[in-house]
């Protein structure tokens, strides 16, 4: 018995080593001799060499436009992060945070080859977490933040003009998959589906700040800081989830608004992934799930009017968000940016529309809604959307592409 159960494990180790050796050969072919020799020293326990290897790989990742980076270097970066983390974690409890940060950087910027190794290392190191102490009053303040702007009249004061006065997005409780496909998916029509995610553990767990601190507090996440991504003062930062929660909590001036937006958080943090489920609706069209992103932030975050190429099911797990939709056919009247990197964004600032510059917007019909906790909004491909949080809000977006239908985004 013992021998039998041992064999596959040994095999796995071998496969593992073969994989790493192949990566080092590949890096050698790319000319990364210094990386390879440092990585070998790192594998032998040399922390300084591990860090040097990580620096070398990091420079490679920034050696040109992102899409031109040779993929093997991303795997090499992940490997170096793994080495740094293992050696740091071995050095004692004080270095635990550093080790986790290294692993998260590997998960965020590294390639896929050593993903499983990174995940396993995270589990190992996270297992020795100390107890999280949440300050008095924090828990209640967190819940208050989530329940902001219950009163719609109140909310209207911070929403764009004409909000909730045009067409309402239809709301259907517990919609069957078939009806969803026939009435909405095939017709490129948005719809709010309610009562479908009540069984998600996230619905209760994410209301508890102590839970979020515990499962993710020491993890490093990329966040966006500033009014919105079209502003010049906008920037991205890497901070710990604890620091992020603290900022959501204190929610100070708008220029410091911190938004964990469009990040595949659930690929990174398994505990949070376990709190949600992929809705069956995302299999409509027989396509493929493209990405699962987190959108987590305080009251007042804005995603300016833009469009995406995929089908999008936007689940409002915690708090509420205002969402305005314009059909894909309205593109011409929404003045997309001409620069191709921003061509999926409209030049129109819905919070402050310049009608002399963008006259066609004025009489344009739109759909809108306040998406409440526990509801999901289906946004058809290429539909323009503007999103503003009305409270502390945590949403999850499911993007998928359909294969068999013409409505698939480019």
């Amino acid at each position: 018995m013992g021998g039998e159960s041992g064999a596959p494990a040994a095999e796995a180790v071998e496969v593992d080593e073969e994989r790493r050796a192949a990566l080092l050969r590949r890096i050698t072919e790319e000319g990364g001799f210094a990386f390879v020799s440092s990585a070998e020293k790192a594998a032998g326990g040399d922390l300084r060499a591990a860090e040097a290897a990580r620096e070398m790989a990091w420079e490679q990742l920034h050696s040109g436009p992102w899409h031109e980076v040779v993929p093997a270097w991303r795997d090499a970066y992940a490997m170096a992060c793994l080495h740094v983390a293992e050696l740091r974690a071995g050095a004692g409890a004080g270095d635990r945070r550093e080790a986790l940060r290294a692993l998260d950087m590997g998960l965020i910027m590294g390639g896929p080859l050593l993903r499983r190794d990174l995940d396993e290392a995270v589990q190992r190191i996270a297992a020795c977490a100390e107890d999280v102490v949440v300050a008095d009053g924090c828990t209640d303040k967190w819940r208050e933040g989530i329940s902001n702007n219950r009163d719609l009249a109140e909310a209207l004061r911070i929403l764009p003009n004409k909000s909730l006065s045009s067409k309402k997005v239809e709301k259907r409780p517990s919609l069957s998959l078939e009806t969803f496909i026939c009435d909405y998916f095939l017709h490129d029509s948005p719809v709010i589906i309610s009562g479908c995610i009540d069984h998600w553990p996230a619905r209760t767990k994410w209301k508890d700040i102590a839970y979020l601190q515990r499962v993710a507090g020491d993890r490093t996440v990329p966040v966006e800081v500033g009014k919105n991504y079209l502003c010049s003062e906008w920037k991205q930062e890497l901070i710990t989830f604890s620091q992020f929660l603290e900022r959501v909590h204190s929610n100070n001036c708008p220029s410091n608004l911190t938004y964990l937006a469009q990040h595949p958080l659930f690929d990174q943090i398994q505990e949070l992934r376990d709190d949600i489920m992929i809705p069956d609706y995302c299999f409509a069209g027989g396509g493929e799930l493209r990405s699962l992103n987190a959108w987590f932030g305080p009251l007042g975050t804005v995603t300016p009017l833009h469009q995406d190429p995929h089908h999008n099911l936007f689940a409002q797990v915690i708090g509420r968000k205002y969402i305005r939709l314009y059909p894909a056919s309205a593109s011409e009247s929404l003045y997309p940016h001409t620069e191709s990197m921003l061509s999926n964004s409209s030049q129109v600032d819905l919070d402050n529309i310049d009608f002399t510059e963008f006259p066609k917007v004025e009489n344009l019909d739109f759909f809108d809604c306040v998406l409440e906790e526990g509801e999901m909004l289906y946004i058809p491909p290429k539909w323009w959307h503007y999103v503003r949080s009305l409270s502390t809000s945590f949403s999850v977006s499911f993007w998928w592409s359909a294969t068999a239908y013409p409505s698939e985004g480019a």
Partner: protein, 457 residues
């Protein structure tokens, strides 16, 4: 692309000069790893000795002294150059690099930043020599020439002597005695110009022909589109170039990075004569990660190449597809230029220091971590009443020597490359304590710094 051997460039002049002068090696990376950074793209390292090039600017007595003696110069090399060492092991001590037999009557004149995994030097007859490329390690021979341990002439489509050369991450630039500039290597670093006819590695021809806009992969640079920008990880190519540039040759999306071996021709360009405005003569050149600097004999700075961090100094993050004068520096006569992985530093004739480009580690010395897309004159109190004489950039740090022989460093300091006794980054110029020595020059390696000095008397 990946390559090594940052400290591999020949670095000899200083050694051969005179007895009283010593090379202070300011903290090479510790732990026995002398290899500085991956891709030790040179370029920036050998900013020294450009006096020969500038002639008139030679206020440096050392050079005159040396020329007066007319002694034969040697090139010494140490560090890591995989193709040269018998077992691909680093050279731990300086070793003389011999002229090949085929050029027995020629002599070494100057050393250049060697680029990724290869070394470059210039001979008295104005030939560019390269060595260090191997035949089996995926080198880009278009960039480096297929030369192993013996230096061989890298043929350029001109008979005019080369007076200065530099290499960046994976591209090279050189300037002739006539002030003409040639670039080759990474296509996106090579602006539209005139390209040499098929160059064989054994001996190039000098035939020139106009490059046609339809050839190769002329196309708009690929960009991520359709989705919102997200994630710190995404370094998008924001270059949108000039509208009138029909011949854009930023790398093509079709080029799969996986097909490295077959992609050499599509990723690398043969030496191209850089088109300059009539009357512009270039006196000196420098190469950064993927951008290039050319300094005219009148002290005007021209930049081209990768611009995502503002390293071209044109007020935007666009790629600069052809040499363009940094107009905000017009009226300032530029004396020296140097470039790092993402940043550019230049000094004016009257000793001012201007910086622009990426600033993640404080390498601009402006006191913040904000990138600058336009040249910013440093107004650090410690530089007040001082005049910058020499400047050099490492990958992510900067060093300047002032007229009174003080050395200031700033930027990335993880490996002590600022010489300040710690490993804390600095974002303002910081005086390096160099007691009992009289600094004569400073030159940064990828992750280290060198100072040439005179011993106390």
């Amino acid at each position: 692309m990946g390559a090594d051997s940052s400290s591999s460039r020949a670095r000899s002049k200083s050694q051969s000069r005179s007895r009283e002068k010593e090379l202070l090696i300011d903290r090479l990376g510790e732990g026995g790893d002398m290899n500085g950074g991956e891709a030790g793209g040179g370029g920036k390292e050998m900013e020294e000795d450009r006096k020969e090039v500038r002639g008139a600017a030679a206020d440096d007595e050392m050079v005159k002294e040396e020329e007066g003696r007319a002694k034969e110069k040697s090139v010494l090399m140490w560090g890591y150059l995989p193709g040269v060492s018998p077992h691909r092991s680093p050279l731990l001590y300086p070793v003389a690099v011999r002229m090949p037999d085929s050029a027995a009557r020629d002599r070494w004149m100057d050393v250049s930043g060697g680029g990724c995994g290869f070394a470059m030097a210039i001979s008295e007859s104005g030939k560019l020599f390269t060595w260090g490329s191997t035949d089996d390690m995926g080198q880009s021979y278009v960039t480096s020439g297929k030369h192993e341990e013996t230096p061989e002439v890298f043929h350029l489509p001109t008979e005019v002597p080369i007076v200065k050369a530099a290499a960046g991450w994976a591209h090279c630039v050189s300037v002739t005695a006539n002030g003409e500039v040639y670039t080759w290597g990474w296509k996106e670093c090579v602006p539209t110009g005139r390209i040499v006819k098929e160059q064989s590695y054994s001996g190039g021809t000098s035939e020139k022909e106009e490059r046609h806009s339809g050839s190769l992969s002329d196309q708009v640079s690929p960009r991520l589109q359709g989705s919102r920008i997200g994630g710190v990880v995404s370094e998008f190519d924001t270059g949108c170039g000039e509208k009138n540039s029909k011949r854009r040759r930023l790398s093509s999306a079709k080029v799969e990075p996986e097909n490295k071996s077959s992609s050499e021709e599509t990723l690398s360009a043969l030496p191209c004569l850089v088109t300059l405005d009539t009357g512009v003569r270039i006196a000196s050149v420098a190469a950064g990660g993927r951008h290039t600097l050319a300094l005219s004999d009148t002290g005007a700075l021209l930049t081209f190449g990768w611009g995502l961090y503002g390293q071209c100094g044109q007020g935007s993050t666009n790629d600069q597809l052809s040499p363009k004068c940094v107009s905000s520096l017009l009226g300032v006569k530029i004396h020296e230029v140097a470039a790092g992985l993402w940043h550019t530093i230049c000094t004016s004739v009257d000793g001012g220091v201007f910086s622009f480009g990426g600033n993640q580690f404080g390498q601009l010395g402006t006191g913040s971590d904000q990138a600058e897309t336009l040249p910013k004159l440093l107004d650090a109190p410690c530089l007040e009443n001082k005049s910058a004489k020499r400047v050099s950039c490492g990958a992510r740090h900067t060093a300047v020597m002032t007229g009174d022989g003080q050395v200031f460093c700033w930027g990335w300091n993880k490996y002590g490359q600022l010489g300040l006794g710690d490993a804390t980054d600095r974002n303002i110029p910081s005086l390096v304590p160099i007691n009992n020595y009289q600094p004569k020059n400073v030159s940064c390696g990828w992750w280290h710094t060198l100072v040439l000095s005179e011993s106390p008397t």
